[in-house]
Amino acid sequence: MRRLLPVAAAVGLLLLLAGLQPWLRFVLTIALSTGLAVLGIAMLLRAGQVSFGHALYVAAGAYAVAFARPHTGEGLLLLLLAGLVATGLGLLVGLFVTRYRDIFFGMLNLAFSMVGWSLLEKLYGLTRGTDGIRVARPTLLGFALEGAAWEWALFSAALAAALLAGALVASYLRSPAGEALGAIKTRETRLEFAGISARRVLLQAYVVSATLAGLGGAIGALATLHVTPLLAYWTHSGELVFVAILGGTGNVLGPFLGAVVFELVRVHAAAAFPDAWQMILGLVLLAIVLAAARGLVGLLDDLAVRLGWRG
């Protein structure tokens, strides 16, 4: 029960914020969709691996929604399709990249995502290049919604997806497969001695992380109703890694906490410094990494200990 308390507090806070300010509903929906993708990155970080290319799967999910929308009007079906497409792509790329670790793992992911970005930009006849594709608003569970009702519905769907994904990933990380994932970071050879295929463990986590990113991309596409190749660009992958480190990887709440703070700051800061936004992110990332800090979750944890809530 003690574990559920922070989750309940977070959900309450999100609902409160979404109710207070109408524009926050949109920002928080985006934040939850980012959080889903970051949750996947955080899983891979458990194994000591960092992917600089997960925006590829976000884009795969988003474009799956854009391509399928003319053929179906149901939002939940679109989300399901997007998840399947990202999972398939994740399996295909994962079979290759999980043969590698560290530098190769990170850079091969970057390479694949940049190929994806180039294709989305170049194949104009299919993707309409940099203009991107507009997505007509679908129905949710058969209801054609407008305005605030639509925003609430999508926000709730994103919140439900985040809770479900968080719960599943948390129980996965506590399972033997999840423990094996952490062992890839500490000592992979011993894992192999124990008769467990490190590659298969990493591949499972990789495919799950692709699914999560695709789902996040699909929710993002439904919120903005527009998809562009920039979704797959390296800066977007970099932001996902940044949010993972910002939130902290010790806990499944970290990615979502990081994403909410990130999106709230971005609304103001990215407009104020359009040409220095990446630089600010880079500097903060350096500071967190070099100080060996545990991100926002770590800060909250320390605070809880100091206040005597936790021993």
Binding site: F96, I245, L285
Partner: protein
């Protein structure tokens, strides 16, 4: 058809020369420091932008080639030591994921530094190409700059680097540290100096690739990242830490790309990576890579 073939071959050669200069710096730095500098492409981009600015500043065409060299040297000598001493020296003993995150953060920072200094409008300055004029090869009029200068410089760098590492005391010192840092230090080699020197050379090579590429293309934000991704593909295909291998692979990938440009233009961006994946599927350590310790 024959002409198109020749044109593709010439383009591929010029492109390969340019890619090699960046890739060899990346692979040299990795071979010695064991760190893959994700921001290596940003040094290429900054070298390219600085070269364009300097060529515009000197104004006199016959000085423009000197301006290119000065730009490469300036980036290497200023940014190289700042990055190595200021940042990398703190993380040599850390885990790989942390080293990757640090150089990735550097990439994010340098990309914006470049945007803040040079803006986002395309920049084009081809005085050095015009200076050297054109020549006819087998019925094709081609620029001397791309036909002779680029491949010439690349070949010179390859030969000088191989000679430096194998035949000079300083070069052998670097190779010794690569083999076994502790043993090298035990016989009195200052490995800190070796790291500093190697990184500075690597940074200057990246900037030189950029400076030489600048007159042949318009500079836009994002070239730094495209360069690091492509040069990683080259060094991964060759085997990390392989200098001659990087040259052979740069040629393979450069030619592959330029033939794609002429014969299957929609596949242009994909071909280098298809080649990489194909090679890595058969030889996971790269064409010239092996499990032995020697890396330079």
């Amino acid at each position: 058809m024959g002409l198109l073939f020749l044109l593709a071959a010439l383009d591929g050669l010029a492109y390969a020369a340019q890619v090699f200069l960046v890739a060899v710096g990346l692979t040299l730095v990795f071979g010695v420091l064991k760190i893959l500098n994700v921001a290596h492409g940003s040094l290429f981009a900054i070298g390219a932008y600085l070269a364009s600015t300097l060529v515009g500043l000197v104004g006199v065409p016959w000085l423009s080639l000197l301006a290119l060299a000065m730009a490469a040297l300036a980036v290497g000598v200023v940014l190289g030591p700042v990055i190595e001493r200021g940042l990398l020296a703190r993380i040599y003993e850390k885990e790989h994921v942390l080293q990757l995150l640090v150089t990735f953060a550097l990439l994010m920072i340098l990309e914006d530094v470049q945007k803040l200094v040079w803006g986002v409008q395309p920049l084009f300055e081809d005085a050095p190409v015009r200076l050297l004029g054109q020549v006819e090869v087998g019925g094709i009029v081609y620029t001397v700059y791309q036909l002779l200068l680029l491949p010439g410089v690349a070949l010179l760098v390859l030969v000088v680097l191989a000679w430096f590492l194998r035949r000079t005391l300083l070069g052998r010192t670097i190779v010794a540290v690569t083999h076994d840092r502790e043993a090298a230090e035990a016989i009195g080699i200052d490995s800190r100096r070796v790291y500093l020197l190697t990184f500075t050379i690597g940074a200057a090579l990246a900037a030189m690739g950029g400076a030489l590429a600048a007159p042949t293309t318009s500079l836009v934000p994002g070239i730094g990242v495209q360069t690091i991704v492509l040069s990683f593909a080259v060094v991964a295909t060759a085997g990390l830490g392989r200098i001659e291998g990087a040259a052979a692979t740069a040629l393979l990938i450069g030619l592959g790309r330029s033939f794609a440009v002429y014969f299957t233009p929609e596949l242009e961006v994909v071909v280098p990576y298809l080649l990489m994946v194909a090679v890595l599927l058969v030889r996971p350590a790269g064409l010239f890579g092996s499990t032995e310790l020697r890396r330079v």
